[in-house]
């Protein structure tokens, strides 16, 4: 509604632009990358999926960590090739924007790091991301980390995600988290 009214109001447009800039800053916060590296070092044997909040964030992660990114514009053939390389162990981690939230299966990936969220705390999306890592693979333990920028809306989104995933998992998966 606000976005629609911003069409004819310069002040509203400035506010909307500032809102988007703030989201971009949070999405691309430098500290998140350092923290993600620390987590990756803590799980050196695990294959990881880094869930990002936008394509710009995924590209930054991909460039800095030298890992592939999978977005909506990644051709299906390249996507399958990347997941196959991950299954073989040639690639150890991948950055993703929504695409890898559901509908793929790499049982060896047991580490998830949430760097951003394009849905502002959707419990369903969080449950789907978690579900990717909970594929049975011997006695392997899956881990999902969330990195949020302190003092920003991300903190509340994380709380909302937690509450949402609890509800979804109890209702649909039949176990508590």
């Amino acid at each position: 509604m606000f976005a629609a009214s911003a069409r004819r109001s310069p002040a509203a447009r400035r506010a909307l632009r500032a809102f988007h800039d703030r989201e971009r800053l949070v999405r691309l916060a430098e500290g998140k990358l350092r923290e993600a590296e620390r987590i990756l070092r803590a799980h050196p044997a695990e294959q990881a999926v880094l869930f990002c909040g936008g394509t710009d964030a995924a590209e930054t992660v991909s460039r800095e960590l030298a890992i592939p990114m999978i977005t909506g514009s990644t051709p299906a053939s390249e996507r399958h090739a990347l997941l196959a390389a991950m299954s073989r162990g040639d690639i150890r981690a991948v950055a993703s924007v929504r695409v890898l939230d559901e509908g793929w299966d790499v049982p060896t990936a047991k580490l998830g790091i949430v760097l951003g969220d394009s849905t502002r705390g959707s419990g369903r999306q969080h449950a789907q991301r978690l579900g990717r890592l909970l594929r049975r693979q011997g006695d392997a333990i899956a881990s999902l980390y969330e990195i949020v920028a302190a003092g920003t809306y991300e903190f509340f989104s994380s709380q909302k995600r937690g509450a949402g995933v609890k509800r979804v998992s109890e209702g649909q998966l039949g176990f508590g988290v």
Partner: protein, 413 residues
């Protein structure tokens, strides 16, 4: 082309009629602003697409209505020619090498960010900074502006208004095109776009009824809509055109929509369309005949003859026959000119059938003499049996305008 979100804010539906609120230059400030936008994009030649998009977006502070600017920016971007940066084709190989290098050196540790690039650089024989540049060089946003459109603000205004009208057609069930001239380009565009269409005679002219993307039996309506949209620029080559459409709204009701080409409207009247392109020729012989005509008769008003590409279609059995030129005299007489150059025997046979079916008594054939040999000669014989030998103007190297006019003096009606 504009999406529904660009078009929807400017549509009004009243009593079964859809109206588009076109952009007009009522206060004389719109065209100078659009001129400035065109110059801005021209200055950005060589810059990445993402920079051009951001530069256009920053103009928001200069406009009252952001939705107008978004539509105008999209119109300009669609007319821009973007090219991939140098060596963009190497990007997949670079990615493969860099990511595999990181896989061998896992996990990342502080200070080793350049290591995968250096390792892959050694493998590919390139430097690490170059690999960083090439990593996503094949992404759409990385393409650079090769050539900005050569537009004036007034032409951009007319084009934007045309794009608004084109956006309405995405929901059209049936479209009727009425044009004065320019049929060749229109038919070619409709055939190239593989649209379902019916041609009807309307008095002395023709109408084309095209099935729209919203028709119930069109399966992939989005793709069909994009193909239909490709026909609209062909209309700009017609001197006058009109388009009537039945458009289905979100509530399922049908509304009527009409748009007329008026590229030169000024002031409070909004221009729609484009400046029209110069006549395009299918072959060098056609161009040569037109040039010879211009040279001999272009400034000679006493002759009274003019040569025009604007020919009306002629019914030929179940198909349409569109002669290459019309030769008109100031007193109203006109003859149709069909140039038969160097073509395959099958083409000549089809042409012979069409000419016979059309039964036009003011047709002049201008035929390349070199054709009268071999298989093409046989096919040509078939053609000459359906047309009077006196109506055929032979040429050896270049068609001669003087001979065409001489034939026209005799056969024009």
């Amino acid at each position: 082309m504009l999406t529904r979100s660009h078009v929807a804010p400017f549509l009004r539906r009243e009593r079964g009629v859809i109206g588009v609120i076109y952009l007009a230059d009522a206060d004389g400030r719109v065209v100078p602003f659009l001129d400035r936008l065109c110059r801005l994009v021209k200055r950005l030649e060589g810059k990445p697409r993402s920079t051009v998009i951001e530069a256009l977006r920053r103009q928001e502070r200069r406009v009252r209505d952001a939705a107008r600017l978004a539509g105008i920016a999209k119109t300009i971007l669609d007319l821009c020619h973007f090219t991939p940066p140098e060596n963009a084709g190497l990007a997949p190989a670079v990615r493969d090498a860099v990511f595999r290098a990181r896989g061998r050196r896992w996990p990342p540790v502080p200070g080793d960010h350049e290591v995968p690039y250096e390792s892959a650089g050694g493998e590919l024989g390139r430097s690490a900074p170059e690999l960083r540049r090439l990593l996503y060089a094949d992404a759409p946003g990385a393409r650079t502006l090769g050539r900005a459109p050569r537009l004036t603000g007034r032409a951009l205004l007319a084009r934007y208004n045309l794009e608004l009208a084109r956006g309405v057609l995405l929901d059209a069930e049936r479209i009727t095109i009425t044009a004065r001239g320019g049929w060749r380009g229109i038919f070619r565009a409709i055939k190239a776009a593989r649209l379902m269409h019916v041609v009807r005679r309307a008095g002395r002219s023709y109408q084309i009824e095209v099935t729209g993307p919203a028709a119930a039996f069109i399966v992939r309506s989005n793709r069909y809509g994009v193909r239909l949209a490709r026909v609209v620029p062909a209309l700009m080559q017609a001197p006058r055109w009109r388009l009537d459409a039945e458009v289905r709204g979100a509530d399922g009701t049908i509304a009527h929509f009409r748009v007329r080409g008026k590229p030169r409207a000024t002031g409070s009247r909004a221009p729609v369309g484009g400046p029209g392109k110069r006549a395009r020729y299918d072959s060098a012989w056609e161009r040569s005949l037109a040039a010879d005509f211009r040279q001999r008769f272009g400034r000679d008003e006493r002759s009274g003859w003019t040569l025009s590409r604007e020919t009306s279609p002629v019914t030929a059995g179940e198909e349409l026959f569109i002669p290459d030129f019309t030769v008109r005299h100031a007193d109203g007489r006109e003859a149709m000119v069909e140039l038969v150059g160097f073509w395959t025997p099958e083409y000549l046979e089809a042409k012979a059938r069409k000419v016979a079916a059309a039964g036009i008594d003011n047709l002049i054939l201008v035929v390349y003499r070199g054709l009268a040999v071999g298989k093409a000669g046989d096919a040509l014989a078939a053609l000459t049996t359906v047309v009077d030998a006196e109506r055929i103007v032979w040429f050896a190297a270049q068609p001669r305008a003087a001979e065409v006019v001489r034939a026209a003096e005799r056969w024009a009606r």
